[in-house]
Symmetry: C2
Subunit: 124 residues, 2 copies
């Protein structure tokens, strides 16, 4: 199931660099665009998950494993659960190395979401 | 109740221009920052609500009433309900003029959320 949701904010037809949606100030989103973007916002709509996301995003080297994140006040299985949810939403990628799974933020997705909210000056 | 939540992403101590949170790539968010920002992301985590938000944000003059938004495929009471939720989350402000309530995006909040996701180069 989760593998079908890997990069929902990117248009697969246009490749990795292309965000799905124009800035919200530009024009109303289509139903399909809203479905994709809402999935990501929903994933960030939980305080613990958002803290974990920022913990990964700001970690040295841009990646972190569960073993690196222990100061959010929830158990390691809960951390793992939330990181999986972020991955299913397309916000993180993961790679197993030895005992641990390392999570990394999708920079293009982050940029696309930021652009969607911040508005773009021109050329969009 | 709803009036206590008007600008959760802005620090009231620092005034309207100051976003609550640093870019997620800068450092892990505190529990309090995450609470505030997650409330907004959660509000955008529903496809219909996100479409309505973009409909208001992109409407002529930067504001819209329920009467302006009729092409999202939901009833007017449902539109009103969602706009109220967006207002409670601090993403929209509203003003009654005659028969209609007009909604407007909080540009500073939008910019703060965009910055939180997009990352800031320096001076943050």
């Amino acid at each position: 199931m989760s593998h079908t949701k890997v990069l929902p904010l990117l248009d697969p037809a246009e490749g990795q660099g292309a965000p799905c949606c124009p800035p919200v100030t530009e024009r109303p989103m289509t139903s399909e665009e809203a479905e994709r973007a809402a999935r990501m916002f929903k994933a960030l709509g939980d305080p613990v998950r958002l803290r974990l996301f920022s913990a990964v995003a700001s970690h040295e080297g841009g990646e972190a494993c569960v073993c690196d994140i222990s100061d959010v006040g929830v158990s390691q299985p809960t951390v793992s659960h939330h990181l999986k949810k972020l991955k299913e939403a397309g916000l993180l990628t993961s790679e197993r190395r030895g005992t641990w799974v390392y999570y990394r933020v999708q920079p293009s997705v982050l940029a696309a979401m930021g652009r969607l909210l911040a508005g773009a000056p021109a050329g969009a």
